[in-house]
């Protein structure tokens, strides 16, 4: 996993197996975001997104992992969060990204909400193989000069 | 002053000598009739309802200056002086609210007034006069118009920067009441800053009511409208009620079109009404002080 494009630093891997791990993942995420110099508001947005992603893993796949890393692109710096599971996969990804859609008892805000909290959002899901959601958030005003 | 090298770019190279000579003759005619033509031009400007933001005296003064610069440019083929003048003129008149079409309009009018006079004077040489006069006149018109537009764009850029830098003030008016006057275009970035600032302001001032006045917001698209709704919702989570005032008919229409739940929005027509509503929510009543006779 360390050879993934754009990752420049060691990454933090948080295994997700129970709801307690959701708390760990978001605390790690906030710590890394603060380390990267994100404002406290931005760190909160990132931690909230991580919480939702980790919760999806617990809800739908039972187990998986959250990978946190620093990302650099043309002088921009940011944080990349990868939520990976080997669960059942999402049948209709498009639908899962629509507001108000849920397959697990009224939560359903997860993915569209996460998308709004972060700058970049990518999802790859294969039925029976699992789901990987990759989200990034770039530091404000840290764009190429 | 007539330098053929600078003239070459202005007029057709064919029959250069005679054209230059003719142009000089034309300029002499226009200079002789300066008073009359200048008045004619000023009259046409007034008739066409151009430069209405300026007084007749101001129009006449500018007309004189433009006229003289115009003739000089015609004569020398050098538009530098005119360029400088056009820039100065733009700087002076843009703040007065003079529009691009007015500036283009007056220059085209001058071109027309002068051309008519020249055609009257040289009825037999119509096409030669045209050849000599028109390219130069067009270039001058172009210079003035471009100068004006560039100046306008510069001012617009400057204003955009100023607006971006302008922090939206969160004003504590009285105990637990904040006023947030928003002026200018809101983009998502600004909407976000504004919300963060407001939420912090609510916490620091322990505000119960916020009057958000958007009279100065010219337009709003769906994204920004949604940001605004989020601002209202986030404020509620901190225990503060937001009253939105100064919604223009256009923005009201946008909100309805995108299906914003107006039930969530507490809206009052204007800022004054908003403050009155805030006082009502806070349980205050404003009564006039009865002056006791001394």
């Amino acid at each position: 996993m360390a050879d993934e494009v754009g990752l420049v630093n060691d990454e933090a891997v948080v295994p997700i197996r129970s709801d307690g791990d959701i708390v760990t993942a978001r605390q790690e995420g906030r710590a890394l975001a603060s380390l990267l110099g994100f404002s406290s508001t931005e760190a909160t947005l990132i931690a909230t997104a991580i919480s939702e992603l980790a919760r999806n893993i617990v809800l739908y796949a039972k187990r998986g992992e959250i990978v946190l890393a620093l990302v650099e692109d043309h002088g921009r710096r940011g944080i990349v969060v990868t939520a990976r599971d080997e669960g059942p996969g999402i049948v209709d990804v498009r639908k899962a990204l629509m507001d108000g859609h849920s397959t697990s008892g009224g939560l359903g805000l997860g993915l569209p909400g996460v998308r709004r909290l972060m700058d970049d959002f990518e999802i790859v899901s294969q039925i029976g193989k699992g789901t990987t959601v990759t989200v990034k958030r770039w530091k404000q005003g840290a764009g190429p000069v | 002053m007539a330098d053929t090298r600078t003239t070459r770019s202005v007029i057709a190279p064919l029959a250069l000598e005679s054209t230059t000579a003719l142009l000089r003759e034309l300029v002499a005619h226009l200079r002789e009739n300066r008073t009359q033509l200048r008045e004619e031009w000023a009259r046409r400007i007034t008739e066409a309802k151009l430069l209405t933001a300026m007084t007749p005296e101001e129009v006449f003064a500018e007309a004189t200056a433009v006229y003289d610069n115009y003739l000089e440019a015609l004569e020398t083929g050098s538009i530098e002086a005119l360029e400088t003048y056009a820039r100065n003129l733009s700087e002076r008149i843009i703040p007065r609210g003079v529009e691009t079409h007015e500036v283009v309009g007056i220059v085209l009018l001058l071109r027309d007034v002068l051309a008519r006079s020249l055609f009257g004077k040289y009825p037999a040489d119509f096409s030669r006069v045209l050849d000599a006069y028109e390219p130069a006149a067009n270039r001058i018109a172009n210079t003035v118009a471009v100068g004006f537009v560039q100046e306008r764009e510069r001012i617009i850029r400057q204003q955009q920067e100023a607006i971006r830098e302008l922090s939206t003030p969160v004003l504590p008016v009285r105990e637990r009441l904040l006023i947030l006057p928003i002026i200018g275009i809101i983009d998502p970035q600004r909407a976000r800053q504004l919300t963060e600032q407001l939420l912090r302001g609510i916490r620091i001032n322990r505000a119960k009511v916020v009057v958000m006045d958007i009279t100065g917001v010219p337009a709003m698209d769906a994204t920004v409208a949604n940001h605004l709704v989020q601002t209202v919702e986030a404020s509620r989570l901190l225990g503060a009620t937001v009253i939105v005032t100064g919604l223009s008919p256009e923005i009201a229409q946008t909100l309805v079109n995108i299906g914003v739940d107006l039930g969530k929005m507490n809206t009052v027509g204007d800022l004054q009404g908003g403050i009155e509503e805030a006082e009502r929510l806070q349980g205050y009543k404003v009564v006039p002080i009865t002056m006791e006779p001394a």
Binding site: T44, A47 | R206, L237
Partner: protein, 123 residues
């Protein structure tokens, strides 16, 4: 880690003191709903000042708590939501609709006093 519940006058006050797991939150909800009946409480205050993330699960649990305790005769008010947390919540689409919110404990108490007095007067 269980959340201590304080009983004061007609009110129950739960002050969240650490990051809560989903399980902790559910336990808190159930405990509050049970105690509302036990102590015949008129109001519930959940102080989330130290909560640094409110995600969809937390928001839903608090909303459920509010609805459940209302059915059992107590008004619930959430106090102390931090500005950043509120900002993240609305971006996520969590508005806690129908759940009263107040700035802090003091405001929450004032809110409940107003609310329960009005009810008494109406009866």
């Amino acid at each position: 880690m269980p959340v201590p519940i304080l009983k004061q006058r007609d009110y129950l006050i739960a002050t969240i003191q650490a990051a809560l797991t989903d399980d902790d939150l559910k336990k808190l909800r159930d405990a509050l709903v049970a105690q509302v009946g036990e102590f015949r409480s008129r109001g519930v205050i959940v102080d989330v000042t130290t909560l640094d993330v409110m995600d969809s699960f937390a928001a839903r649990t608090l909303r459920d708590l509010s609805h459940m305790s209302r059915l059992r005769g107590a008004e619930t008010v959430i106090v102390g939501i931090q500005p950043e947390v509120a900002f993240a919540m609305v971006q996520l689409g969590l508005t806690l609709e129908g759940v009263p919110a107040a700035l802090d404990l003091e405001e929450g108490l004032a809110y409940l006093d107003r609310k329960t007095k009005r009810k008494t007067a109406a009866k």
